[in-house]
Structure formats: structure tokens, C-alpha cells
């Protein structure tokens, strides 16, 4: 009786969850580029393997509990208090997990190495280089070849790898665009490289996923993926219409706080490279520690960037 | 504790069960200390070269001084060994004499270390100057602080030895202090090679 209800309950709960999530976007499981795709494949493969283990354990546990529970008029034939182990069984359940671990390790290692290089599918084109610099609590995207810079949004061409050069002006952040693929850290005084690629045009959400303090939740940005010509048009337009980024203005933008979306027809890389050891104390030199005192907190998910 | 044998022979500091537990406990403590110093050494190695605007170590390190400090501490370890030997012979006087010599050598070492730190500070290398110098001062300073603590501990022990003479309890305490002192010596050997020798060469 109880068990039956338990089963129905679980089924109901799963169905309920599926209905709930059906309408929502699940970017990690519905990726829009090759990087996210290979990660999704790995994830799905591991979920299948892991489900097997969970099912085996559940079945075995249920069997033990049902068969060997104390109940009136159970014969003592299958009760063996001296039963102390079974070497053969123990070897089996050591070896099988080892095999599973091997089965998981191989695709994992292959994928790890793959992700260190730009995706194969666009190897005919040079990756687009974008410096993504985080500062509390905004993103600067510098396009050194195009000589433009944007704040809190970026455009990328589809079907071409993007080579993100990641660094930070202050706390450690992590650039994450779930629909395109996994994240990597932005750290002051260091530069890390992350390759992503969009195969489908569209607007994707990106964010800093690594906790950086008061404004962390709003350190998000939009990624506009569009065909190459459109991207080129956007670059040209930005170059012509956007103002230049002076050092004074850049310094001002660096101060901790939230910013609106912006664009410039030059990059801050002329003044400082936060990804080098020399750049790591730039912000502290300009603003001192005082800038981090008494910062007003956010309330109720306010989002100035979209106001 | 009852149920565990009290020995009537063998080194005084090992006779009771409690003694043996204390010595084992102290060895484990030294194991933890090794983990602690290993972490500090690793930190030092990682931050090596990050001197920022401060002088580089090879500009400041001086061989004679480092060698003198090494000599003082190694000798003190030797005299400490003699002290324990005297204790085993049951000679309180010998024990006290050699302990005091050990202390004097330890104090000499500390004096040089303080002089060294002050000297570096004058040359512009302080705890605050850069990551490298922070790790240098904290690594050597932690060792120095251990030596200081060891000296204070030894003073307390000398008072107790004077008051109570040599018995199982004072013998154990002295033995444990000896372990500690040798341990600091071993750490210093690592310090000397990986900080001073390498710092002077690289």
C-alpha cells in the first residue's frame, strides 16, 4: 500500500517536473554551438551511465528491504548472522565501477583536449578574437582587430569560432554563455582563453557565474549571434557612430558599480592589459580601496542595464 | 592508566604508558608541523620572483650571515643532543649546563635573524613590499617564532628541573623539547638550502 503510493508519487512528481520545465529554456541541454554540443553529449552519456548505477542500487536496496525485513512468521533459514562477506562479489563490484570510470574517462579526456582548440567545424576561418574583461560588476568586450569595444553586450558572427581572451580588473569572475558552452575564469593579472562558437543566429544570455560580491547577480550580458555580413555591418556602424574611449572615461567606468550597455570606437587595451601582471593593480591604483567601501546593495533583482 | 604496564627499566621518559602516548602525540604534532611548513615552502616557491619594485633576494642575501646562523643552530642541535645524553646518564647538572648552552646558541641565532630582518627593511624589503618578500618574511618568521617559543619553553623547563629535579615527568618534558628543537633544526636546513642558497644563485 505504502509502496504503491510511493511509486505513483514519484511518477507524478517526475511528470510534474517535465511539464513545468517543458515551457522553459534549458540552454545547457539545448546548445546552439559545437562546444556546448560536445559538452551536452558528454552530459547525456554520463546521465545514462549514472542512471544505470542508481537503478541497480535502488533495485538491490528494495530487494534487501523487502526480502530480509523482520516480519512475523519469517523462517530463519535465510538469516545468517555469521555471513561476513564474499570475495568474489566484492571483486565484481570493484571491477565494474572501474570499468565504468574508464568508460567515462575516455570521452572526458578527449573532450577536454578538444575544447582547448577552436572547434573543428570552422577550422577554415581564423577565430574572432575578443578580449572579455570583467570588472565589478560589468563586462568590457574589446575587439582588437576591429578596434571597437562594447560594455555588457557583444555581437559575434555565426559559424566562426570566437577566441575569448579572459581577464579581470578586480575580483575573479567567470564568463559563461550556457547556450554556447561552458565557462572559464576571468582573473586579474592573468589571461585565459575560451573558445566558443554559435551555429545558430539568435540572442543568448551570458553572465558572470562566479560570485563577485554585491552586484554579482546583475553582471550579465547579451550575446547577439548573427551571420557574418550582419556582424560586419554592426562593426562598421559602431566604428562610425560610437565615441572613442578615453582613458579617463575608462577609469571612471571601472569604478565598482553597474553600467548600461555602451559601445566605443576604440579599446581600453591601449591603456592597460589587465591580463598581464602589470595590469593587475591598475584598478586599485586608480580608485584605491575606498571605492569598495559602502557600496549600496541591490534590491529585488533591479537591473539598471535594461532600464 | 592501569592495565598498561609501567616499565622499571629503559629510558626514564618512556617508562609509563602516558609517557609513550605523549611522545607519540608529539611526533604526530611534528607531522602536522611538517604539513604546515610544507605549505609555507610551497607558497614561497610559488611566489618566488614576484618581487615587484622591491630589491631582488640575490641583492640582499649574504652568505656569511646565513652560514653563521646555520652554524649556530646546528651546533645548538648538537648541544641539545648532549643535554639529552646527560639526562639519560642521570646527571641533572650536565643536563642543565648543556640546555643553557643550547639556549644561548638559540638566542644568538635569533639575534642574527632580527638583525637580518631590520637590515632588509632598511634596504626596502619588508613584509609589505611584494608577494615574494611577504612569503620570505612569513616563512623565515614562522621558523623564528618557533625558535622563540622553544626558548621560552626551555626556560620554563629549566625552572621546573631546578625545582623538582630529574623525574619521569621532567624527563619526558625535556625529551619532548629535544625533539622539537631538532625538528626546528631540520626545518632550518631546508630553509637554508631552498631560501638562501637558491635565492643567492637564481
Amino acid at each position: 500500500m505504502k509502496n504503491k503510493w510511493g511509486k505513483y508519487g514519484i511518477l507524478l512528481a517526475v511528470a510534474f517536473l517535465l511539464i513545468l520545465t517543458a515551457g522553459c529554456s534549458v540552454p545547457v541541454l539545448d546548445p546552439k554551438g559545437p562546444v556546448g554540443e560536445s559538452q551536452k553529449n558528454l552530459i547525456v552519456f554520463s546521465i545514462i551511465m549514472m542512471s544505470l548505477i542508481v537503478i541497480v542500487v535502488m533495485v538491490a536496496l528494495t530487494y534487501m528491504l523487502v526480502k530480509f525485513r523482520e516480519r512475523p512468521n519469517r523462517s530463519d533459514e535465510d538469516y545468517d548472522p555469521e555471513h561476513e562477506g564474499n570475495t568474489k562479489l566484492e571483486i565484481i563490484w570493484t571491477v565494474i565501477p572501474l570499468i565504468i570510470v574508464t568508460a567515462l574517462s575516455i570521452p572526458t579526456v578527449i573532450t577536454i583536449y578538444q575544447l582547448e582548440d577552436p572547434p573543428q567545424s570552422s577550422s577554415d576561418k581564423e577565430p574572432l578574437v575578443v578580449h572579455a574583461t570583467s570588472a565589478d560588476w560589468k563586462w568590457f568586450f574589446s575587439y582588437p582587430e576591429q578596434k571597437i569595444e562594447t560594455v555588457n553586450y557583444l555581437h559575434i558572427p555565426t559559424d566562426r569560432a570566437v577566441e575569448f581572451k579572459l581577464s579581470s580588473a578586480d575580483s575573479m569572475a567567470s564568463l559563461w554563455i550556457p547556450a554556447l558552452g561552458g565557462q572559464k575564469y576571468n582573473m586579474a593579472g592573468m589571461e585565459t582563453t575560451l573558445y566558443l562558437q554559435a551555429d545558430e543566429a539568435g540572442t543568448y544570455e551570458g553572465r558572470n557565474s562566479n560570485f563577485t560580491g554585491t552586484g554579482f547577480a546583475e553582471q550579465t550580458f547579451d550575446v547577439h549571434a548573427e551571420p557574418a555580413e550582419e556582424f560586419q555591418n554592426w562593426v562598421e556602424e559602431t566604428k562610425q557612430s560610437a565615441p572613442e574611449l578615453t582613458q579617463d572615461q575608462y577609469d571612471e567606468l571601472l569604478a565598482p558599480g553597474l553600467l548600461q550597455e555602451m559601445e566605443f570606437s576604440s579599446t581600453h587595451l591601449e591603456y592597460v592589459d589587465h591580463g598581464s601582471m602589470d595590469g593587475s593593480d591598475y584598478l586599485i591604483q586608480r580608485h584605491g580601496t575606498e571605492a569598495f567601501e559602502d557600496i549600496p546593495a541591490l534590491e529585488g533583482g533591479e537591473d539598471v542595464a535594461n532600464d | 592508566m592501569s592495565g598498561h604496564s609501567e616499565l622499571t627499566t629503559g629510558p626514564l621518559e618512556y617508562r609509563s604508558h602516558e609517557d609513550r602516548m605523549t611522545v607519540l602525540g608529539f611526533w604526530l604534532f611534528l607531522g602536522a608541523e611538517i604539513a604546515l611548513f610544507a605549505t609555507l615552502f610551497a607558497t614561497y616557491a610559488v611566489l618566488f620572483g614576484r618581487t615587484a619594485d622591491a630589491p631582488a633576494p640575490q641583492e640582499l642575501f649574504e652568505m656569511p650571515m646565513a652560514l653563521t646562523m646555520t652554524f649556530l643552530l646546528l651546533t645548538s642541535s648538537f648541544t641539545c643532543g648532549i643535554a639529552i645524553h646527560e639526562m639519560r646518564r642521570g646527571s641533572l647538572k650536565g643536563l642543565l649546563t648543556w640546555l643553557i648552552i643550547t639556549l644561548a646558541l638559540g638566542l644568538g641565532f635569533l639575534g642574527f635573524e632580527i638583525y637580518e630582518f631590520v637590515h632588509y627593511a632598511h634596504e626596502g624589503a619588508t613584509l609589505q613590499s611584494s608577494a615574494y618578500w611577504s612569503s620570505f618574511f612569513v616563512l623565515t618568521g614562522t621558523h623564528g617564532a618557533h625558535v622563540t617559543l622553544g626558548i621560552c619553553w626551555a626556560v620554563l623547563l629549566i625552572i621546573q628541573l631546578k625545582k623538582r629535579g630529574l623525574n619521569q615527568m621532567t624527563a619526558r618534558k625535556t625529551f619532548v623539547l629535544g625533539l622539537y628543537w631538532h625538528f626546528l633544526d631540520v626545518i632550518w636546513i631546508f630553509l637554508f638550502t631552498s631560501v638562501y642558497l637558491i635565492g643567492m644563485v637564481v
Binding site: V57, E70, P81, H83, I112, G182 | M1, L47
Partner: protein, 648 residues
């Protein structure tokens, strides 16, 4: 006055005023009750100065339950904020402080003390010892934990709580980006209690290695004692790393050094490395004793010997060794390169193999058993499926390339709650209900126990399963505000949290209820137990065993019950040597608190005063030649006769 209102006391928030008022009221109430019932002397003599491992264990557990309450309140506040989008209940700063204190308190001041409390109470009994190897040091351990926890908790009302997460990453937590006292509370609270933990590690290693009953070879030890030995080993070699890491950041913040700073070519990422070099072993410190508890409980209630004892021991040893070799899996996304990530992926996955062996051995223990479903067993059965889920998601996280997508999301949050709650918390509850009669002379009420179990387990799954999906939906951990599309699952999760809270409250009520109404134990062997702790009487005399039996095999007490044997061998009674109580540990730890508080506020005079106090206590201790006292044979006889009346 201005300083007092603006910087010292945290002002401007009803929650904090509420906390202040309740702290003041509770303190007054305690002082009043103690004075009114003339209990100050009792408190000082029986508890504050005790060196008895049983009392220390009980104090650890009480403190841990109080901390579980505090951490639980934090959790409920967070769930309230995260249920609906655009909630204005907590602003981002408050949210950050609360999730930081939640994580820190739960791991450092709840999980560890709870388990160490159980270890304290049980291990000496299981090995037939009269106390731990260094009872004085044991009291120092407890009091430094207690004062460390107090210092940490004080931050809520005085100066502001730490707000950089329990991982306290630099440079966010460093002097450049986070001026003020709050992070100092984290550093010093953990430092003070960490020293106590390190001492516990050494103490229990010596206790277990040197104080076993005659004939109890290592491979005859009860499995919980084994898990405690291995845990103590991990503590002894992992905690110094934390000590150093905390000290370096403290020096950074207070004395201006440049270890983890943005300036002076400091290296913030070194913090992450040092933290996890300790942090990963730490997660095994809080799971291995729980494994030990489950092993004891499952074998007792399946009424069978533990299946594959040797494999159980070896798997714990392997887990302990590997736990030092996997720390990089906490920052696969730092970009250390494919080689490094591959190696650490594989080592991490390897840990799951000995863990899996243990799971199957527990199932094997039930095989051919005769399973009873008392509350401790329920927690242990609930543990298996829930923990396996946490284990397999751990393996998923260990696959570095996939971890780039899970890292920093609610998927990770779900994983570690699945292992920490289903493993550690269920383990603590199982252990407490299992050994409760030994501690207090009466069982916890079964009916209430079952109610609280079902609320807690169902609530737990309802609360945390949706979080895996939220991770896939892109919800980052540590965000103070959710987006509308994440709402439905968050609502479910909050419902689960409420159910868990009910379960916890029933558990606590059960303590009160059982104290009032439970039948008192008549024998020392409540559950038909198997290890030595059940061989002595309930309540346990302060010297534990009148005589220590010779051990001839594993499961000492089980054997004694079959072959005869007693812990009260009237013919061979001898006077028992016991250590004397001492007020020094309490006073010394109070000085640590003073020094810590001084450092938090950078009031050097206070820090130095505290330091001098600590040193003075050490000097006092050094000159203390108190050898303890002997319990006479007559007194033992009298105590035992009285305690054993009920058995006849």
C-alpha cells in the same frame, strides 16, 4: 558614539535588530535561570571544567545542534528570498552575508563538531578506554571550537558578517576589495576553532593507536573507530594547510602583506589552491565518520556482522589517500590546461570506486539479515539512495569538460547537499538516535523520530532535486535574485525546505519529549549491540569500564554475549586512575576569543592582551604537576552494583 552606531553595531535592518534583541534576551534568561536555581557552581564544576570525553562529546553535540538551527534559519531566509522573482526581502548584501555564514557554519561549526562530538562520546567506549589520550587537550579542543564559533556568530550583530562565501576566495575577500572587519571574523573564527580541530585529530590518533583494550588488534576495531582513526589522520595533515592559508590572508588584511592581493604582484589564485588542498580532505573529514556510523547502525539493525569488513577499512584508507589528490576539481575552469584537468578528472572519478564498494557492502550487510526499522536504521536506509545520487552527480562533475557547464550553478549546489545532507546530516541523526540511550539513559521516541525522518527525507528530496534542473537552466549559485523562468522549480524547492524545517523541529521537540516521557533504560544494551560501548552500564560511569575485558575477535561485545564475559569482573577490580578537571582550557580559549576579537577590529592592545593571556595559561599548565586521582575499589563496587540493579 558615532563609531558605535555606524561601524561597530550593525544597524538599519529589522532582522538584525531582531537578532540583537533575541541575543540579549536569551543571555539575560540564561543568567537569570542559572542564578535563580543556583546552578553557576554546577555549570562550572560539571561542564565548563570537565575533561570527561562523554561530557565533552555531549557539549559538542548540543553546540552543533544550536549551529544547525542557526544555519537552518539562514537557509530558510535564503529560500524565502529565492522563491519568487523580484523579492525585496533580503538585499544583495544581506543575502551574501547569509549564504556565507550558512555554508561556513554548516561545515565548520555544525557538521564537524557534531561528528567530533559523536567520536568523543563513542570512540573511547568502543575501544574499552577510560578517556582519550589527552583529556586536558580535548577540553582545549572543545572550548576553542566553542569560542571560535561564538566569535564567528558575533559578526552578525557586531561589525557585519563575512560576505565572500564559505570558500572566501581572494581577491574578493582580500584587503583591496573588501575592507572592514567582516572577513576578519571568518579568518579568526575558523583559525581559533581550527586549532582545536587539529588537536582533536592528534588526540584521537593517539587514543586509538595506544589505548585499545588488550587483544583488540587494529583489524578487530569497530568500524566507527576505524573511520575516526582515518578521519583523525586526514585532520592532522589537512588542517595545517588551512591554518597557513587563514594566517596568510589575515596577515594580508591586517599587516599589509601581499600574498593574495592585486597589488605587489600577489597571487589571488594561490588562495583557491590552498583552500581546496584543505577543503577537499575536509569534505571527507565530514563524511568518513558518517560512513562509520552507518556501518555500525546497519549491521546492528540487520542483526548481522558487517559485510566485507576488510574491504570497508581499505576503501576508507584509499579514500583518505585520494582525498589529497583531487583538489583541482574545484576549479577546472581556471584554465590550468588539458593535461592537469585530465589527471584530476580521473583521480576524482577514482574516488567513487571505493565509495561504491562501501555502498554495495552495506547492501551486502542487509543480505540474509533480519532487518528492524528503528529510527537510526531509517536514517541509514534513507542515506543509501540519496547519497548514491550525490555520488553519481559527483562523478558527473568530475568530468571536467562537462563541469565547465555545471560549475558555479545550482547543479553543484544540489550535488554537495546530496552528499552532505544525505551523508553527513543523516549520519549525525542516525548516530545521535543510535547512541542517545547510552548518553542520556533513555531512547528518543520512535514515533516522533519516524515523523521527523519522513518530513526531513521527503523535504530534502523535494528541496534539492529540482536544483539539478535549475543548473541546466542556467541558474548560477550565490545569486540573490531569480529570473521568472526559474520560478516554478524554486517554489517547489522552498516547499521542500519548509518540510525539512518541520522535520528538524520535530527532531528537537523529540529531545524534549523523550526527556519527559521516555522509559528509562534498564540495561546497557539497548539495541542488542555488537561493540564494546554496549557492554558497560547505562548511564555510563565516569570511568567507563570497571574492568576491561580481553578482546579475542571482532565485534567484541557480540562475542562476550555468546561466550560470556563482563566489564565488571568483581575479582579483579583495581583502583582506576582518572585525570582531574581543569578550568584552564575554558579560560585559555576565552583569551583566544579576546585576541581574536582584537585582531578582527585591529585593536592591537586587545590582541596582545589576549595573546599574553593564552601564554599565561600555557605557563600555568606547564607548572601543573597534577597527576589526577584514583577511584577506589569500594567506590567502583558501589557504583556498579547500583547501575546493574536493573539487569537482574
Amino acid at each position: 558614539m558615532d563609531f558605535l552606531l555606524n561601524e561597530f553595531l550593525v544597524t538599519g535592518d529589522p532582522l538584525i535588530y531582531g537578532a540583537m534583541v533575541s541575543i540579549v534576551l536569551v543571555s539575560i534568561a540564561i543568567v537569570f535561570v542559572l542564578t535563580y536555581f543556583r546552578k553557576w557552581g554546577y555549570l562550572w564544576r560539571e561542564w565548563l571544567t570537565t575533561v570527561d570525553h562523554k561530557k565533552i562529546g555531549i557539549m559538542y553535540i548540543i553546540a552543533a545542534i544550536a549551529m544547525l538551527f542557526r544555519g537552518g534559519v539562514d537557509a530558510m531566509l535564503m529560500r524565502a528570498q529565492l522563491t519568487l522573482p523580484n523579492t525585496e526581502f533580503l538585499n544583495s548584501q544581506h543575502y551574501n552575508e547569509i549564504f556565507t555564514t550558512h555554508g561556513t557554519i554548516m561545515i565548520i561549526f555544525m557538521a564537524m563538531p557534531f561528528l567530533i562530538g559523536l567520536m568523543n562520546f563513542v570512540v573511547p567506549l568502543q575501544i574499552g578506554a577510560r578517556d582519550v589520550a589527552f583529556p586536558f587537550l580535548n577540553a582545549v579542543s572543545f572550548w576553542s571550537f566553542a569560542f571560535g564559533a561564538m566569535l564567528f556568530n558575533l559578526s552578525f550583530v557586531i561589525g557585519g558578517s563575512p560576505d565572500a562565501g564559505w570558500t572566501n576566495y581572494a581577491p574578493l575577500a582580500g584587503p583591496n576589495l573588501n575592507p572592514g572587519p567582516n572577513i576578519n571574523y571568518y579568518l579568526l573564527g575558523l583559525q581559533i576553532s581550527g586549532i582545536g580541530t587539529l588537536a582533536t585529530g592528534i588526540n584521537f590518533m593517539v587514543t586509538i593507536l595506544k589505548m585499545r583494550a588488550p587483544g583488540m588488534k587494529l583489524m578487530r576495531m569497530p568500524i566507527f573507530t576505524w573511520s575516526s582513526l582515518i578521519t583523525s589522520f586526514i585532520i592532522t595533515f589537512a588542517f595545517p594547510i588551512l591554518t597557513v592559508a587563514l594566517a596568510l590572508m589575515t596577515i594580508d588584511r591586517i599587516f599589509g602583506s601581499q600574498f593574495f592581493t592585486l597589488t605587489g604582484e600577489g597571487m589571488p589564485m594561490m588562495w583557491a589552491n590552498l583552500f581546496w588542498l584543505w577543503g577537499h580532505p575536509e569534505v571527507y573529514i565530514v563524511i568518513l565518520p558518517a560512513f562509520g556510523i552507518f556501518s555500525e547502525v546497519i549491521s546492528t539493525f540487520a542483526r548481522k556482522q558487517l559485510f566485507g569488513y576488510k574491504a570497508m577499512v581499505w576503501s576508507m584508507l584509499i579514500i583518505a589517500g585520494l582525498s589529497f589528490l583531487v583538489w583541482v576539481h574545484h576549479f577546472f575552469t581556471m584554465g590550468a590546461g588539458a593535461g592537469v584537468n585530465s589527471v584530476f578528472s580521473v583521480t576524482t572519478m577514482l574516488i567513487s570506486v571505493p565509495t561504491g564498494v562501501k555502498i554495495f557492502n552495506w547492501l551486502g550487510t542487509m543480505y540474509k539479515g533480519k532487518i528492524r526499522f528503528d529510527t537510526p536504521m531509517l536514517w541509514s536506509i534513507g542515506f543509501i539512495p540519496c547519497f548514491v545520487l550525490g555520488g553519481v552527480t559527483g562523478v558527473m562533475l568530475a568530468m571536467a569538460a562537462a563541469d565547465y557547464q555545471y560549475h558555479n550553478t545550482y547543479f553543484l549546489v544540489a550535488h554537495f547537499h546530496n552528499v552532505l545532507i544525505a551523508g553527513t546530516v543523516f549520519g549525525c541523526f542516525a548516530g545521535l538516535t543510535f547512541w542517545y540511550p547510552k548518553m542520556f539513559g533513555h531512547k528518543m521516541n520512535e514515533k516522533l523520530g519516524k515523523i521527523s525522518f519522513w518530513f526531513f527525507v521527503i523535504g530534502f528530496n523535494v528541496c534539492f532535486l529540482p536544483m539539478y534542473f535549475l543548473g541546466f537552466m542556467g541558474m548560477p549559485r550565490r545569486t540573490y535574485s531569480i529570473e521568472p523562468e526559474w520560478m516554478p522549480l524554486n517554489v517547489i524547492s522552498t516547499i521542500g525546505a519548509v518540510l525539512m524545517a518541520v522535520g528538524f523541529l520535530v527532531f528537537v521537540y523529540n529531545i524534549y519529549y523523550s526527556f519527559r516521557y521516555s522509559e528509562r533504560e534498564k540495561t546497557g544494551d539497548t539495541w542488542d549491540g555488537r561493540a564494546l560501548e554496549w557492554a558497560t552500564t547505562t548511564p555510563v560511569p565516569f570511568y567507563n569500564f570497571a574492568t576491561v575485558p580481553e578482546i579475542t575477535g571482532p565485534e567484541a561485545f557480540w562475542k562476550m554475549k555468546q561466550e560470556g564475559g563482563t566489564t565488571y569482573d568483581k575479582e579483579n577490580l583495581e583502583p582506576i586512575h582518572m585525570p582531574s578537571d581543569s578550568g584552564v582550557p575554558f579560560i585559555m580559549s576565552a583569551f583566544m576569543f579576546v585576541a581574536g576579537f582584537g585582531l578582527v577590529w585591529e585593536w592591537m592592545f586587545m590582541a596582545i592582551a589576549g595573546l599574553i593571556g593564552i601564554l599565561a595559561c600555557m605557563v600555568v599548565r606547564s607548572f601543573d604537576y597534577d597527576h589526577g586521582f584514583h577511584v577506589s575499589v569500594e567506590e567502583i563496587k558501589e557504583t556498579e552494583e547500583k547501575a546493574r540493579e536493573g539487569e537482574k
